[in-house]
C-alpha cells in the first residue's frame, strides 16, 4: 500500500501520479492490458487531483490531499481524500463529445477508465476508484453511487461522516437500448431500508 499526503495544489499533482504509476509497476498490472492500465489509472487520479486543487480548495487555503493506493493481483484501488468543498455528482453532466468541449471532461475520464467510482461528500470528501482486471467493453463507463453512511450504518471502506456516493459502472449503449427515451444520464435511486444509494449510468451524449 502507498499512502501519500500532499498539499492540495497542482504542483503536487505529479507526485501523486508517480505514486500510482509505481504501484502499477509493482503490481505487475502491465500484464493485464499493456500500457493502458497505467495510462488509465494515472489519467483518473490526475483528473481527481485537478478537481480537488481547482474546485474543492478554490477560494480558500488549500488543505491536504491524501492518496491511498492499494492493489492485489486483480484490482488496484485509489482512495483520494480532501477537506475542501464537496460536490454533488448528480449535478455533473456528461460531456457532449460531438460538440468538442474544452472543459468538463474530468469526471467522464474518471468514470470511463475506472470500473468503480464512489464519492462521499465530507469532510473529508472521499473519492474511491477501483480498476479491475476483468476486461471491459469499450464505451462502458463506471456508474456513480451516493450513500449516506449515517443512514446506511456506515461504509466499511469510507469514513463514516458526511454523504457518500458510488458510481457503479453501466453500459450506456445497453442502457439506451433498454430505455429508448433516455438520453445522456439516467438516474436510479434506491432506498432499501437502512441503506440509501443513488446510482447513475450513462455515457457521453452522442448525436
Amino acid at each position: 500500500m502507498i499512502l501519500l499526503r500532499v498539499p492540495g495544489t497542482l504542483e503536487y499533482r505529479n507526485l501523486a501520479l508517480r505514486a500510482v504509476s509505481e504501484a502499477c509497476r509493482i503490481a505487475q498490472h502491465d500484464e493485464w492490458e499493456g500500457a493502458s492500465l497505467e495510462a488509465q489509472t494515472v489519467s483518473a487520479l490526475g483528473e481527481a487531483f485537478n478537481n480537488i486543487a481547482i474546485h474543492s480548495y478554490a477560494g480558500r487555503p488549500a488543505g491536504d490531499v491524501v492518496v491511498e493506493i492499494s492493489w492485489t493481483r486483480d484490482e488496484i484501488v485509489m482512495q483520494i481524500s480532501d477537506d475542501g468543498r464537496s460536490f454533488d455528482p448528480e449535478l455533473v453532466e456528461l460531456p457532449d463529445l460531438d460538440a468538442l468541449p474544452e472543459g468538463g471532461m474530468g469526471l467522464f475520464i474518471i468514470r470511463s477508465f475506472m470500473d468503480e467510482v464512489e464519492y462521499q461528500a465530507g469532510p473529508p470528501n472521499v473519492l474511491r476508484l477501483v480498476k479491475r482486471r476483468a476486461a471491459r467493453a469499450e464505451g462502458e463507463i463506471a456508474p456513480m453511487s451516493t450513500r449516506s453512511p449515517a443512514r446506511a450504518g456506515g461504509s466499511s471502506k469510507l469514513p463514516s461522516s458526511g454523504r457518500s456516493g458510488s458510481m457503479p459502472r453501466g453500459n450506456a449503449d445497453a442502457d439506451r437500448d433498454r430505455d429508448p427515451s433516455a438520453s445522456g444520464w439516467r438516474m436510479l435511486a434506491v432506498d432499501a431500508g437502512a441503506a440509501t444509494s443513488l446510482r447513475k449510468t450513462g455515457t457521453a451524449k452522442q448525436k
Binding site: 504542483e11 495510462a39 494515472v42 489519467s43 485537478n50 474544452e102 472543459g103 474530468g106
Partner: protein, 99 residues
C-alpha cells in the same frame, strides 16, 4: 512541458514534449493565441514526445482546432501514443483530427 514552433511557408509545426496538464496548459494558450492571431492555416502538432495529457491540456488543443478551423485552416496531429492516445481515443478526438 517544452514546446517549439517551426514555420515553413503556410505550415507551422508545433512540437510539445513532456506533460500538458492543468499546470502547463496556460503556458500553451499564449502560443495558441499567437498562431490564431497570425492566421496560420496549416498547423501540425507533433506529440511524439508528449508523455501525459489531462482534460485541461485537451481543452487547449481543442481550442486551437476550433479557432484555426474558424479561420479556414486545419490542425493535424502526429506521433500520438500511449496515455495521450488513450485520452484522444476516449474523447473521440482521433476522429476529429487527421492523425
Amino acid at each position: 512541458m517544452k514546446h517549439s514552433r517551426t514555420d515553413n511557408g503556410n505550415e507551422t509545426v508545433l512540437t510539445i514534449e513532456g506533460t500538458l496538464d492543468a499546470v502547463t496548459a496556460p503556458e500553451l494558450r499564449s502560443v495558441v493565441d499567437d498562431l490564431v492571431n497570425e492566421s496560420r492555416k496549416e498547423v501540425t502538432l507533433d506529440l511524439a514526445a508528449l508523455r501525459l495529457i489531462d482534460s485541461s491540456g485537451v481543452g487547449v488543443i481543442v481550442s486551437l482546432f476550433k479557432r484555426v478551423r474558424a479561420n479556414g485552416g486545419q490542425v493535424r496531429i502526429t506521433g500520438l501514443r500511449d496515455q495521450p492516445r488513450a485520452i484522444f481515443r476516449l474523447l473521440r478526438l482521433d476522429r476529429v483530427f487527421p492523425v
